[in-house]
Symmetry: C2
Subunit: 214 residues, 2 copies
């Protein structure tokens, strides 16, 4: 059965790997699963046939025979359940790795995403400059704790897992703001993720589509 | 084995059921699982022994023998995997229910939570009034799509699932803002969730701790 995902025809970040299809590509590469990509324009994302598989009109989606899914966390989890390499098999360790998936998406990503909103989509608002320190401090409140937890470990809980895949992907969104560099341990953690061959392949694949032509 | 969760000693909402322990209590009640609650003060949430089981110093947590978990989504999923009633058994339907869990927490909750930030924690800021319409429109962008997906169905995908449990819990946070009432179908969806006997038991249990004494 062919796996098909969707991605932006032109990613808003111009190929920096921050669009969420990179997360799914990374998971597929960790497992050595081949996949195809259907590219969508803004109009395509709002079209009824796309809304039928992604009610919120976003990317990525995942199609595999009779099954179609949306939500990056759900797609990564679905893959991790079916192929070795992204979730431990021992019961408690598996539950803790899944906990880190949710922590990346529901505890760390919301303030990170809000910082992007503040820096990019509210940059022209009269409150932009005055409000930014407050938004950054909400991110730091999470990173302080994450850094304390990580300590000198390579990954969040034992071996690399789907929890690390999502957490590294979320933290990558902070690089442009400079905040990641305030935490040397977290910057090194992100670098360990980027150094994985599967990440490099995922990044290269999305970059090939989105890089500005020379 | 006794299940123990943590909750606020005094919930910031004064018993309206919006603290996240209500979500875990609801899941436990749907399954008829007894549980105990350890109540935490602000100081208790920042104490080393709590940070050892919740790196971000929040509630709820979940302890069951050798296993301790944090993140509401992860705890609800852990319970749903082990007891009947919150996840379908058929493969594709199960994956779609899990998708709705992630959609509730990573697509719908972030703008909902940001509205609480704007209404409560930035209420005294000079930009508060001018910025609020933009924050509300981000919530509406999600609710428009959610409403279109729900249509005339009772639940998001077939029978009631952990996806509905989390989505109803997230939407409940909108009631005070008045936005939920703009969507009659979603308000009715939330009311269907609240009408479940398991929700009523979970709400009553947290209310008993947090209601103002007369």
């Amino acid at each position: 059965m062919t796996i098909t995902i969707t991605a932006f025809e032109r990613s808003p970040d111009g190929g920096k790997g921050l669009a969420r299809d990179t997360r799914v590509r990374w998971a597929l590469e960790e497992m050595g699963q081949p996949y195809e990509v259907r590219f969508l324009s803004s109009a395509g994302m709002a079209a009824p046939e796309h809304l039928a598989i992604h009610p919120f009109g976003q990317i990525p989606t995942y199609e595999d025979g009779s099954l179609s899914l949306f939500e990056t966390g759900s797609i990564v989890f679905h893959l991790a359940e079916r192929h070795a390499g992204l979730l431990p098999t021992e019961r408690d360790a598996r539950a803790r790795a899944i906990t880190w998936m949710f922590a990346a998406l529901n505890t760390v990503e919301p303030p990170v995403f809000e910082l992007t909103n503040a820096r990019v989509f509210e940059a022209d608002k009269p409150w932009s400059e005055a409000r930014l320190p407050l938004v950054k401090d909400r991110v730091r409140a999470r990173l302080d704790r994450l850094s304390a937890h990580l300590g000198v470990a390579d990954w969040l809980d034992g071996a690399f897992s789907a929890g690390d895949l999502l957490m590294v992907s979320v933290l990558l969104r902070l690089r442009m703001s400079g905040i990641l560099d305030e935490y040397q341990d977290l910057a090194a953690y992100v670098a360990r993720g980027e150094a994985r061959p599967a990440y490099a392949r995922a990044f290269a694949a999305q970059f090939a589509v989105n890089a500005p032509s020379l």
